[in-house]
Symmetry: C2
Subunit: 240 residues, 2 copies
């Protein structure tokens, strides 16, 4: 399996996909055609989303085409060289993945080696379920169960920070509550600017900030690149 799971599309103060464009280029290797699934977009037009991604990745000779341009989305995935699932609202993304009945074809193709790139909501849906999304549940998908490409929960945009002088739980409190009610599931908190990569059965973690691991009955772990990569390879969250 080949997975590139990015916390976010946009680092604070930099253009769309800029911080990860070289990583995407490197991850894709020879493949230069990327099928974009922009279903998480609510307030941005799919065509605009495609253009934003094209602008960011075109410099590497990568060609983006959005799935909304195809009559048969399933067929589009079946024939794709590589897949990029973009960010936005995770509930909306999952709703439309169910609606277009794309689960099986995505799982099959990814399991056969098609590169899967996700950022934000697109990383979220690669996990077991969307129960650790930060998004507002503005629409109800048929289920919270997501693609399950990895046997873990992703929390993108992980941060320890909160809105100053505002109440409501911190991110960590939320994830600890998740762990309390979901004792079997491991959460990988990806700070902005970081990503997970899986190639040839080998995981690596890249990020200036540490990967945060939350599991029931364990202290919260904050792992640097080396520690995180070791942890991921020991735990083997993918289906070999």
């Amino acid at each position: 399996m080949r997975l590139l799971l990015l916390s976010n599309s946009t680092n604070y103060g930099t253009p769309y996909l800029e911080h990860c464009a070289s990583a995407i280029d490197e991850f894709l290797g020879k493949q230069r055609e990327l099928l974009l699934i922009p279903y998480a977009a609510v307030s941005v037009d799919y065509g605009k989303y495609e253009e934003m991604a094209q602008n960011a990745l075109g410099v590497f000779g990568i060609k983006i085409r959005s799935i909304h341009r195809y009559d048969d989305p399933k067929e589009a995935v079946r024939n794709a060289e590589a897949l990029a699932v973009a960010g936005g609202n995770t509930f909306r993304l999952l709703q439309l993945l169910y609606f277009e009945d794309l689960f099986d074809v995505i799982r099959e193709r990814v399991s056969d080696g098609m590169p899967y790139i996700g950022w934000s909501a697109g990383s979220n849906v690669s996990g077991i379920s969307i129960r650790t999304t930060n998004d507002m549940p503005i629409v109800q998908p048929p289920s919270f169960i997501s693609l399950g490409l990895i046997r873990a929960q992703i929390n993108p945009h992980y941060t320890d920070r909160v809105i100053p002088e505002h109440n409501g739980e911190s991110r960590l409190q939320r994830l600890l509550e998740f762990a309390e009610l979901n004792r079997e599931d491991c959460v990988l908190g990806l700070p902005e600017g970081s990503w997970l990569c899986l190639e040839s059965d080998t995981w690596c973690y890249k990020g200036n900030e540490k990967l945060v691991v939350v599991e029931y009955g364990q202290s919260v772990r904050y792992l640097n690149q080396e520690e995180a990569s070791k942890f991921l390879n020991e735990r083997k969250f993918h289906n070999p």
Copy 2:
């Protein structure tokens, strides 16, 4: 109907329920017994939650008893003088309201005049659905549809502020995306420290900050106490 829908339990830097204890006292009138539904609690023990509420409201002679002390939760609601639905995780709260099959009995009793007090998640579930909660979907309730005591969506802890130098949507962006996909539903954003009150068919809004109204096709409205009360009475979001 008698509803007191509070944005939050705790204003920044003040003890639990302190900012709204007199409002609760006044709203309850002669009724001094309050059945507490603490199902939104995940990391706090139900007994502890009861104690916290008792400590805050005992000074007014209000007696709190949590529903977990009763063998038959439905019977407890049937016999309650007044109901308080506490904050925490909205998905967990809704899951357990469904599990204990409390929808009908709560709706009946509230429609018959039993006072309903909610804060945070407890206010959220008084609306049409929980699609405008800020909480993490750590468990999956059977549906997002909630009590529907009012024909609007509540967004508690409303704020325009964001985590500094962090990406992800602002609250308003999220609610505008909600409106885009749910064009019939009106969102009432309650800033911390504010609440809605309905008594004898008359609404009022209390808060130092303005009520935020988000609806599809309309500019976002920021209404002071007087304007908000007028708006609520014109729109009559309750079922008369």
